[in-house]
């Protein structure tokens, strides 16, 4: 077994896990799956790349600006493409179409602004993309940091759901009307969740940029694999998303290494299909189920 392949899988898996968590943040209070999420990650990467290389902003400023912008885009999406549909029927599914439409609109607009050329983004000092040799594995300091940060971020998100506002989101997810009867405003929590889920997607774009390059074609691939990670990890379950992200990243890496790179996508979706056929609700049970 090749340890480099393992490292590759973990790095890619981290990105898929982050996309999946951003899906879950929106999904919990709204039961809406935002199909524009991949494009939001892409906008995050492009905005950040431009802010750094064109506008010359310091890393932290570019980072904050990107999160705020992508969060706002996602909030606007909620207002115009999701809220009106849920207002008419709480269990309607027309948001599948409207969020896909938003995805296409973003993709087209971004193509006009940036063009097809990928932008190289350097990691923040003192990290770099130079390969290190860690116990015989070739991996850069930035990639090590990415894997560690991913695990820390998922733990942070889970902690946020232990606050009263977080518990209220889980309450809305379980029984919206019962939440209303306790004085919880699901609309307000929904708007916050879209803003935060959007910002999280933007952040995923920022951290992905040094590895994948910032490119306008980033969206669909991350949407698909992030979606797969969310589904395999049980939708709404962030710990599940983390583990499933790594399962998919590793499957992809080893599929490419052992078979031929041409088959890697097929291998991923065989695994996803196999898991979902055996366990339609994903590997980690009911959405948001918790054990005591």
């Amino acid at each position: 077994m090749d340890l480099d392949t393992l490292a590759h899988g973990l790095v890619a898996g981290s990105l898929y896990a982050l996309v999946a968590v951003s899906f879950n943040i929106l999904y919990r209070p709204s039961n809406v799956f935002n199909f524009a999420q991949g494009e939001l990650v892409m906008v995050g990467a492009m905005t950040f790349a431009s802010a750094m290389s064109v506008a010359g902003m310091p890393w932290i400023v570019a980072f904050a600006a990107t999160l705020a912008l992508v969060g706002m885009i996602c909030l606007v999406e909620e207002r115009i493409a999701v809220a009106p549909i849920l207002k008419r029927a709480q269990t309607g599914t027309a948001w599948v179409i409207t969020t896909l439409a938003v995805s296409l609109i973003i993709s087209n607009l971004v193509g006009r602004i940036w063009g097809p050329d990928p932008i190289l983004v350097k990691p923040p000092e003192p990290l770099s993309m130079d390969s290190l040799n860690v116990a015989g594995v070739r991996i850069s300091s930035y990639e090590v940091a990415l894997v560690i940060c991913t695990v820390a971020l998922v733990a942070m998100v889970e902690r946020a759901y232990q606050t009263l506002q977080g518990k209220a989101v889980m309450a809305v997810a379980e029984d919206r009307e019962a939440a209303l009867m306790r004085g919880i405003d699901p609309g307000r929590l929904g708007r916050w969740s879209f803003f935060i889920g959007g910002a999280f997607a933007g952040m995923t774009g920022v951290v992905a940029a040094p590895i994948l390059y910032a490119s306008t074609s980033l969206g669909p691939d991350l949407l698909l694999k992030g979606f797969a990670a969310a589904a395999v990890g049980s939708i709404g379950n962030n710990r599940g998303a983390l583990i499933a992200g790594y399962i998919i990243g590793l499957t992809e890496a080893f599929g490419a290494a052992l078979l031929s790179p041409g088959y890697q996508e097929a291998v991923i979706f065989l695994v996803v299909l196999g898991v979902l056929l055996l366990r339609p609700e994903g590997l980690f049970g009911r959405p948001s189920a918790r054990t005591v």
Partner: protein
């Protein structure tokens, strides 16, 4: 009653979509009173509670609570005004713990740590089982324990008025007594109660006033003792094989 009642419902019509359920319903709940709302299945009791708590918009009429007009107000504003609705079937957050459910009971209230602890303490004194089960999922509790948790959750907010929809539904007889006793003791703490209950006799025993609802209309109202002895009650339950008397 000379001063304005705590809750006053005036000439309310309400329903679902094209279905009309309530017609010209008026009802008062005085401060620190227990008011029973009785009537057979499908009479519209739950619909009335849902209209008062803002889940359904009344088509017509006024709803005044503690001096403010609530008709058409949002549910969270109504809860904020101190009017709590414990729904039929309890509607707890089954996938969250007993403690989390209690904490959600105070959502949106600014409480000091000490005040929060004091309220939990008082609830544990009233329902000791909730301390024992504090870390368990609400869904794993028995029906009686869930009902206690639902009432306790509402108590976290120290409401002025509590609306309880069939709190004894599905409970063993011993537990029915326990829950109804708990309700009576809430009045002693200054909470007014609007009680919908299938155990009609028991409900009328602890109530001050009562209303009888039939086909969406109030057909009788008055002191609970008089309603218990009157004909309207029997008329309202006719065809249900004396379900009222069995309680």
């Amino acid at each position: 009653m000379s001063e304005a009642p705590l809750l006053s419902v005036r000439a309310v019509d309400a329903g679902y979509g094209h279905v009309d359920v309530l017609e010209n319903v008026s009802l008062d709940v005085g401060d620190r009173k227990i008011v029973a709302l009785v009537g057979r299945n499908g009479a519209g009791k739950s619909t009335l509670l849902r209209t008062i708590s803002g889940l359904i918009r009344p088509r017509r009429g006024q709803i005044a609570f503690a001096g403010a007009n609530l008709a058409g107000a949002r549910p969270d504003a109504i809860v904020g005004a101190g009017l709590l609705h414990v729904a039929e079937g309890r509607r707890l957050f089954r996938r969250q713990t007993v403690d989390d459910n209690l904490e959600l009971g105070r959502y949106g209230l600014r409480l000091t740590q000490a005040e929060h602890a004091r309220r939990i303490e008082r609830i544990h004194a009233l329902f000791p089982i909730l301390r024992e089960k504090r870390g368990l999922h609400a869904g794993s509790l028995s029906g009686g324990q869930q009902q206690m948790l639902a009432i306790a959750q509402a108590m976290m907010r120290a409401p002025k008025l509590l609306m309880l929809d069939e709190p004894s539904l599905g409970l063993a007889p011993v537990l029915v007594d326990q829950v109804l006793d708990a309700i009576a003791s809430l009045r002693a703490e200054g909470v007014a109660i609007l009680l919908v209950e299938q155990m009609v006799e028991r409900a009328l025993e602890i109530a001050d006033d009562a209303y009888v609802l039939q086909n969406g209309r109030i057909i009788a109202s008055g002191p609970a003792r008089e309603i218990a002895a009157g004909d309207a009650l029997r008329a309202a339950y006719m065809g249900e094989h004396g379900a009222a008397a069995r309680a």
